[in-house]
């Protein structure tokens, strides 16, 4: 008896179970992401720049008195950048720097709002459609096909003009109507391929409810891809909103956006000798776009094992 016992003990190698577990554990998305940012210095820089911009814009616009800034004072009309106005003043003598903060806040918040709404709808509809398939799937997909072939820009502009008493909420609504399609398609295709895997079948056989499978099993497994798309569509939505505001059909005049500031470029003389009117806002949009997209690409690499740097 005792002989046997010692024999087995001698054969069994010493295993540090804790170490083994930590090696075989699949690293979480956030851990991979951290490593990705450590390797890619530029992505880290972009993230820091973004955080700084967001902090300055959000805190700055919170501290500033919006009414004070939007007050028209014709004595300061087109005042060049100097002591009184860091970035100069516009046609109404309003400080460009102050408007930059307020416009930046509006643009960022609307970008976030539209992204959350479109992605929320996209995830819910995409999951349902991808999980159940069949008739619901084909109907929703026909609707998606139809929306994606519509002349979106023109329809949004027409809508903005037609609506009486147009507010920011109308704008968020109309953006959502047209831009939920992308996320729905993405989530659907991922859910479809996930649906065929064994763990879902096993779950179904065990009698797990559909809702639990959708949100407990499929959603966590495709979450990294959703996060990537969330970031990229955030950048896209800011681009669309500022673009429409630039044309004059985005946010209503009461809520200035970065695009509204850029549209000062079309006032006479702005291009040749009043660059301060529109260039700061343009550069702010440009920097934000490049940074958000770059950070988004770092996220994408982290979500796809084949592309990882770290």
């Amino acid at each position: 008896m005792s002989k046997n016992g010692t024999g087995i003990k001698a054969i069994a190698p010493k295993i540090d179970e804790e170490a083994l577990k930590s090696v075989s554990k699949v690293p979480s998305f956030w851990k991979v992401l951290k490593r990705e940012f450590k390797v890619d210095k530029l992505a880290k820089t972009c993230l820091v720049i973004l955080i700084i911009i967001f902090a300055i814009v959000l805190i700055g616009s919170f501290i500033l008195n919006q009414e004070e800034i939007m007050k028209i004072n014709l004595r300061n009309k087109y005042k060049a950048p100097g002591k009184e106005f860091i970035l100069g003043a516009d046609i109404g003598g309003r400080s460009i720097a102050g408007q930059l903060l307020i416009g930046g806040r509006n643009s960022i918040l609307i970008g976030i709002a539209v992204t959350i709404l479109t992605s929320g709808i996209g995830v819910v509809v995409g999951l349902i459609v991808g999980y159940y398939g069949g008739k619901v799937d084909s109907i929703i997909m026909r609707i998606c096909d139809f929306i994606s072939i519509l002349p979106t820009t023109l329809l949004i502009i027409t809508f903005v003009v037609v609506i009486p008493k147009y507010t920011m909420w109308h704008f968020i609504f109309i953006m959502t109507v047209f831009y939920w399609v992308g996320m729905t398609r993405l989530v659907r295709s991922k859910a479809l391929s996930e649906n065929r895997k064994d763990y879902i079948n096993a779950s179904k056989i065990m009698g797990t409810s559909d809702l639990k499978i959708m949100y407990g099993s499929i959603l966590p497994n495709i979450s990294s891809i959703i996060i990537v798309d969330l970031i990229l569509s955030f950048a896209g939505n800011i681009g669309i909103e500022t673009g429409l505001s630039f044309l004059g059909f985005g946010l209503p005049p009461a809520t200035p956006s970065l695009g509204t500031l850029v549209s000062y470029a079309r006032t006479p003389g702005a291009m040749s000798n009043k660059l301060w009117l529109w260039l700061p806002a343009s550069l702010l949009i440009l920097v934000m776009m490049l940074c958000i997209n770059y950070v988004g690409q770092a996220f994408r690499r982290a979500s796809d094992a084949k592309q990882r740097l770290g």
């Binding site: 002349p151 023109l154 027409t158």
Partner: protein, 321 residues
Amino acid sequence: MWKTILRRVLLMIPQLAILSVIVFVFGQMMPGDPFTGLITPDMDPLVIEEIKEKNGLNEPIPVQYKNWIVKILRDGDFGRSYTYKMPVATLIGERAKNTLWLSLLTLILTYLIAIPLGIYSGRYQNSHLDKAVIVYNFVSYAIPSFILALIFLLIFGYRLGWFPTTGSVEIGIPKGTFAYFRSRLHYMILPAITAAILRTTGTIQYLRNEVIDAKTQDYVKTARSKGVPTNKVYTHHIFRNSLLPIAAFFGFTITGLLSGSVFIETIFSYSGMGELFITSINSRDYAVMNTLVLLFGFLTLTGSLLSDIIMTIVDPRIRIE
């Protein structure tokens, strides 16, 4: 294959019908009616009412919709422009020519930039050129179109003075002469380059991946082992194979060009359809607006139809039965 195409065309009809309903509803929500363009201040309200009655504006809305569609399909009558005092069809026809030429030049420039860059960066993967192309691709993808257009306008139009900053042709040059043509081209180049740069991203990315993949394919290995020179392998074998999918994107490229024209034409004050849309909306010229939305919708649909057709020709696997 003809069956597939026919099905695809038939599928377009309900889509167009829904779009026309949307446009009609928007039209109903707008103040004014198709005769606002004819009315002058010294007209008797009773006469206006009579015109309205005669033209069925007091009919129920579904009947009005039917009349509107019949008019468009039968007579090509889209109403009259309020600001330009001419039939909408004539007005848009004039502007469409400008947009068409601009789009054509943009298309040529897009492929002139994208194809060499895509193929070279794929061929010399990880070289300095490849890295530069990746940076270029990232920036052209991330930058919003109106920002790039404004920056180009500032640098090349105002600071360097290489290109005119507004308009589509120099005033005073007689039509049909060579000078007229050259002036047109001069006015088009800057907007076309801007639009082209914004559109190259997808093509470059696609070509680059395709070429990198093709390098390890059997047909390339066979060609190399037969003794075909490297350059010829790239220009003949790989190039042809990777070009097919790009041909299939062609329809979507046209669609993208049209929707982008609103921004590009407005910024460069190029008098095409996109600019006409913005000016008509600013002057509340509803007949022009609605027709343009309808037209852009139709063209977008045709673009995606074209893509699908090319795709079925290029790749027989996609054919729907």
